[in-house]
Symmetry: C2
Subunit: 620 residues, 2 copies
């Protein structure tokens, strides 16, 4: 399939490369994609079966709903996200077992679908009776996204037919002459544009535009969290910043970008870019995580970024990469690939464990007390686990990881007749019309990225390689010459020959990062970054010290020590005192060595306390 | 009535004075009590009527429940809290109009009550079907507390008969041979002990002890927030710290103290004191506010005290004073009166506005953005308002304020045959067996507290006056002599004569207060306190500066400027930057004067941003 990519705009600065033309080899993302294929997808399949989320469809066929139903009202959607992951995986690797499984699910869903295209295992008896919380259109959105993945990688089948019927039903039901409503949880918007892209049917784009335009018209009720929660407080194009429930806000922004790109609506695109800028400047964690508040899983105010209560839901990180990728394709600007890189290596990579069978739902930057170990074989309430859990009552995060990992090759590079643009660095073979590339790198462990030309057209074309924003002092080697390159895209335009080699040397010295003084919660603290990777302290590495009283000496840069980074530090045994305000009595200060490990690795060695930001000693 | 006090233990170190024997004159609390009588109680009565919470009882009589019911499942309890406020007010001032109103409500409730004593407008059709969230026993708890207030101030009537029947019903239903359950929201425990105290009926004490002992036995379901939410995770006497939902935890602790005192259970009392100590040392805001988290209105981890997301529910402050008062009566230790003072002058005094007709539900220590103004005539969702709102969907806070203000005279002093103990300073006339006192003071504006003997027995007795923990350098004048007194209780034992005068001089110089270094969220910040009052910066006083970039120069102490305190300060115009991590470019630093106003006064001059903790310049 020529369009086997997660996002295929008909316009924009950059053109994606099909995931089938980007083979990841052993490396940071290649390993994670392989683990997704060998573990995560089957793990999720077992759990959706065990949790009864597949049986819900069988119950719909048998007519035993609503009594026989199990799971939350939106469980259909988590199954669809998993199917999307399976579709990409089948498209990428051709795994027959998953293909059969998917076809079987499609047959079941076809039977459960109402004649007019309606399909939902929760609300069949009272359609669209609760647009605020019912999630019916949200479920269709994920159904359609899964079908788009399938259509782009394998082609039409019973499952994609189900999705098309559902999409047609939505257009009939919520079109200009239908119900004047939107879903409490956006995602249908971006899904419909993508379905338009793959089918060419204008009605899907029209419906998506209608949904985006309706949002903010206050058609939804004023719930306890306010209409702000589902972005129905103000029209998308008038909003100043992403706000409300973070995943909802980010999915909606994806849909708005898709609509803007397909309809040439430059005002709408500019509005989303402004919102993205404000969000990144004032409401994003160092890890790329988004959404500060537990209560309503929402963005907080500007600089409300307390690490110990950071919510930073895994799904928000996935949605953020989806948005950054859309903006990158639309504009070609490196800043969007920069944020995607930060989010991928930190907020997303931290979620699954080393086996790909347990996941963080929320991703804190500061774990104050030793968390309990979630049962290996039990589901956890949403976001409750302080450690990775195998499954959640709301399991959007594991299934979101599965679809992102199965399709991650699609986010590595773009290509068009003018040349190839390399955005993310991981060992890969990339095949395009103008050339085939072999990328070799141990990134982010090492900073050397080698790009070899394996096949090329004869005429001149440009290779552009992203130089990350953090990479001050990067160099590019082409043939015998070596030149400094600034953040942005380093370009080499020439007639290439097979065997040509371009080497990007990124400076991988660890660096101290200080937060904006308006982020109250981390005033006087530093964090350690190295390349795109955020580091953290884990109590398992500091057996003698209480992380809560730790401070680090920042005179020198952290020293590599295996995969860790070490630095002189102090901690104290603070006296117990009855009231925590007023002058502290003298404390005993003890010297030690702080061992920083990559944030994405934390929590893999048993219960541990952890912190990303650490007070600086002496205070600056 | 000789026992007209909020808490009347049969044992303990101190004995309360009836509220009828403590007349507050014009002064901090006298004004607030008068405002409660003239405004707040009627305001609340209007709202419970308008919200349909009284009509729910009429609907129960008419048999039109559940269809005709309005309000949340626990709205009965908020009406009962208001009735408790009315009962104290009638007892204190004899207001006939309120007395009639109360009797009318009692008649209505008597008609609505089931023959076996069951009474609840929400669950009549499915008794005790949801102990986790149903709040039936919680509603009885407030019904009983109101009846106790009535019995102690006025005597038996139809309303108190309703409460007694309900209490008997509870004992029958949840006694040793009945349902093995507890309520998801504690309060019945303390209510039943108080009912035992006023009636002498042992079964109420036994039932309270049974409820306290059952708590933590995991009879409640494991909800999304965990059993920790309603303290059913661990038995009360094994808990190390107050935890879970703050109001629930504090009400339960009150009940545990009451049971411990009446049964001579010193282990249980010691356990609660340990929990109180841990809570005060690690989980309490400078204002005395408790409960950090919005999501489940719960205590956070140790030192999780971020000011911008402080929840610090008004009801938790009321419950904290209730607990401190019980511990003071039981032990006679000044630290409990100290915390009560801090909580009263800050976390509680901040809730009502200057007219007593709008209230904060949550009490933040840092308001980052200009809040919207809640409609004067509309109810707000729980805790949603950034400014004081006239009513909430959950209106526990206004009604809790009404009962606390009506009975606040009861918290001022204690007395027994050995003498009189003065705990809180406000202009008042105090009548006891041994003597009558006249207290004159402009506290907390001024630090001089004058106690005059207006009547006295002939034999020697001891006057003890609390010297607050913050009051370093206090002096006591008796006759012509003046001596320094240390925090704790200053005692003067002698034969007194009418006209004798004791003067406590408290040092009212403002002071800088620095937080424990483990409170990450305010590292490098200072707060201003003066006497028992916490101060804050409000943006209405700093028209040129953004409070988010403010820092104060702490070389000198803040200077009195009217009711405010002024100090040199700096603020900056920070450049907009696309990413809030990494070195800040040079900022323009501007000098100004910071004007600190009492925290309890904030938000009375229109929308304003606000902060209690302010970064120190230069950093220490």
């Amino acid at each position: 399939m020529s369009e086997a990519s997660p996002v295929v705009p008909s316009q924009g600065v950059l053109r994606p490369i099909p995931i089938t033309d980007v083979s990841l080899r052993e490396g940071f993302w290649g390993e994670r994609q392989a683990r997704n294929a060998s573990s995560t997808i089957d793990h999720c399949l077992n759990w959706v079966r065990r949790a009864g989320w597949i049986d819900n469809f069988a119950a719909a066929v048998a007519g035993t709903l609503p009594e026989a139903r199990r799971g939350r009202e939106f469980s259909d959607a988590d199954l669809y996200k998993l199917i999307e992951g399976m579709a990409w995986e089948v498209g990428r690797s051709g795994t027959e077992r998953l293909d059969k499984e998917l076809l079987g699910l499609g047959e079941l869903m076809a039977k459960a679908q109402h004649p007019d295209g309606y399909l939902n295992t929760k609300f069949g008896h009272a359609r669209y009776s609760d647009l605020e919380w019912g999630h019916e259109l949200y479920c269709y959105g994920h159904l359609i996204q899964a079908a788009v993945a399938r259509l782009r990688t394998t082609g039409e089948d019973e499952f994609t037919a189900v999705a098309l019927r559902a999409a047609d039903h939505v257009c009939a039901e919520f079109g200009p002459a239908g119900r004047v409503g939107v879903c409490g949880h956006p995602v249908i918007e971006t899904a419909l544009v993508e379905l338009y892209r793959v089918t060419g049917r204008q009605r899907y784009l029209d419906q998506a535009r209608l949904f985006v335009d309706r949002r903010g018209q206050r058609t939804l009720a004023d719930i306890e969290f306010g209409r702000r929660y589902f972005q129905d407080d103000v029209p998308v194009r008038q909003s100043e910043v992403l706000h409300g429930h973070a995943v909802r806000a980010l999915y909606l922004a994806c849909g708005a970008v898709d609509v803007a790109v397909e309809t040439g609506d430059t005002d709408l695109l500019a509005a989303v870019i402004r919102q993205w800028e404000q969000t990144v400047a004032t409401r994003t964690y160092l890890t790329g995580g988004m959404g500060s508040r537990h209560q309503d899983e929402s963005f907080g105010e500007a600089f409300e970024l307390a690490p110990d209560r950071s919510y930073a839901e895994t799904c928000a990180a996935v949605a953020s990469v989806m948005l950054s990728w859309r903006l990158l394709l639309a504009t070609g600007e490196a800043r969007f690939a920069d944020l995607a890189e930060r989010t991928l290596f930190n907020a997303i990579a931290v979620s699954p464990d080393e086996n790909g069978t347990a996941f963080f739902y929320r991703n804190t930057l500061h774990q104050r007390r030793l968390p309990g170990i979630p049962a290996v074989d039990e589901e956890s309430p949403r976001a409750a686990a302080g450690m990775r859990a195998p499954w959640y009552e709301v399991s959007c995060c594991p299934t979101n990881i599965s679809r992102m990992m199965a399709s991650i090759g699609g986010y590595v590079a773009t290509a068009d007749s003018s040349g190839i643009q390399l955005h993310q660095f991981t060992a890969a073979d990339i095949r395009t019309e103008v050339a085939d590339l072999q990328v070799d790198t141990a990134y982010p462990e090492a900073g050397k990225v080698v790009v070899r030309i394996r096949r090329t057209v004869e005429h001149e074309w440009a290779l552009r390689i992203r130089v990350p924003a953090w990479a001050t002092g990067a160099h590019l080697r082409v043939g015998g010459s070596r030149r400094p390159v600034a953040p942005g895209y380093a370009q080499v335009q020439r007639r290439w020959e097979v065997g040509d080699r371009v080497v990007l040397d990124l400076p991988m010295t660890a660096r101290w990062t200080r937060p904006d003084p308006r982020i109250d919660a981390v005033r006087g603290c530093v964090a350690v970054e190295r390349g795109p990777v955020v580091y953290c302290l884990e109590s398992v590495d500091q057996p003698d010290a209480d992380l809560e009283t730790f401070s680090v000496v920042t005179t020198d840069l952290p020293e590599p020590t295996g995969t860790a980074l070490s630095v002189p530090a102090q901690y104290s045994r603070l006296p117990d005192r009855p009231w925590p305000y007023g002058e502290t009595s003298a404390m005993e200060e003890l010297s030690t060595t702080a061992l920083f490990v990559p944030y994405h690795m934390w929590g893999n060695r048993g219960p541990s306390t952890m912190r990303v930001f650490v007070p600086e000693h002496p205070p600056r």
